[in-house]
Symmetry: C2
Subunit: 206 residues, 2 copies
């Protein structure tokens, strides 16, 4: 994996099965980034990964199954939450990580491909939602720690705060095509910090 | 078109060419919502629209060309900006319109399909960006009027304000799968109003 969200020097558990999976998922990620989900072909993945076709068909069965496993791996390899000591610092780290991913040529194409896959296929959609659930769960303590420090009121919805950061950046990638620049990052961070402090993301009982 | 964003009683200019286009684009929208872009087939569109196959191939050429024309039509048919007299009122109307579209079964599938199409095809991507550009341009006066009324400082970036509304709602549809509920709508509106008033979306010269 060349996934930017992967930590430096991350090492996979050894063994042939693990090596095969790593090679296949890297090839799948490359091909998704190059041609998108609609042209993802298991035989081509096997050839690119230098792994037997039968192995790939037996283990992953379909392009959607392979995409789902790639998303599991992306969630496992992705970076831990920041812990800078302030909500603004943590949310800025989060926004910069998301912006870096969405402006990286390979990564941005890969994310657009897996999001497209989710629009065609239920298994891919489930895997995509699990990937984002893992990311939102990993980063939620940034908000609960902020509540403990008095930076946001009790009951602040951590997922809503994190969605206020990622949302405008993903909208630029997927919808408007507007640039994901420093102004976009800082706007998202300041708006989210301000809203969290003002109690706007406190869950009400509905 | 059964597009929710279309105004009530909107009437197309007459003529056979216009009627053919209306029938073809409605069929294309239906098929995109049902099966997604990867399975969009011009012959199937022609059959569904009860229009000659040759006409469809000659006029739209490819699935991407047809999707692009559908997006032109969606932009033309979509609702005018709100003008409630306050920034909060206008942004709430915008957020409710977006949420209604993204939670409507046909519309949400259609939007996911055209966004997926944009990840495969440059022409579809251009058309998608033009669609969102038209929407952002239509609604931007809500923010410039708010500046005139003193609700936001001069230099406030209207597209950034509108992106702060749509972004978190689109992120729920396309990425996290979290519910687009009343809390999501109100959080996006209040966060954007707050940030605009605080001068967070003022463009700085970079």
């Amino acid at each position: 994996m060349t996934l930017d969200e992967a930590g430096p020097g991350s090492v996979r558990p050894g063994g042939r099965t693990a090596r095969v999976r790593a090679a296949v998922l890297e090839a799948a990620g490359d091909l998704l980034a190059e041609h998108g989900f609609a042209r993802l072909d298991l035989a081509e993945v096997a050839a690119r990964a230098e792994v037997g076709k039968t192995t790939v068909y037996r283990r992953w069965r379909t392009p959607a199954g392979l995409t789902a496993d790639l998303l599991v791996d992306m969630a496992e390899q992705s970076l831990s939450r920041a812990d800078t000591g302030s909500l603004r610092g943590d949310l800025e780290a989060n926004a910069r990580l998301v912006a870096k991913t969405l402006t990286d040529p390979r990564q941005s194409r890969l994310f657009r491909a897996v999001i497209a896959a989710a629009s065609f296929d239920e298994a891919a959609a489930d895997a995509l939602h699990r990937f984002y659930d893992a990311r939102l769960t990993e980063w939620s303590p940034c908000v609960t720690d902020a509540i403990d420090r008095g930076e946001a009121p009790p009951g602040t919805d951590a997922r809503a705060v994190l969605t206020a950061i990622s949302g405008p950046l993903y909208y630029r990638l997927l919808a408007s095509g507007d640039q994901i620049d420093d102004q976009a990052v800082r706007g998202a961070v300041e708006a989210a910090v301000n809203a969290a402090a003002a109690g706007i993301f406190v869950r009400t009982g509905t």
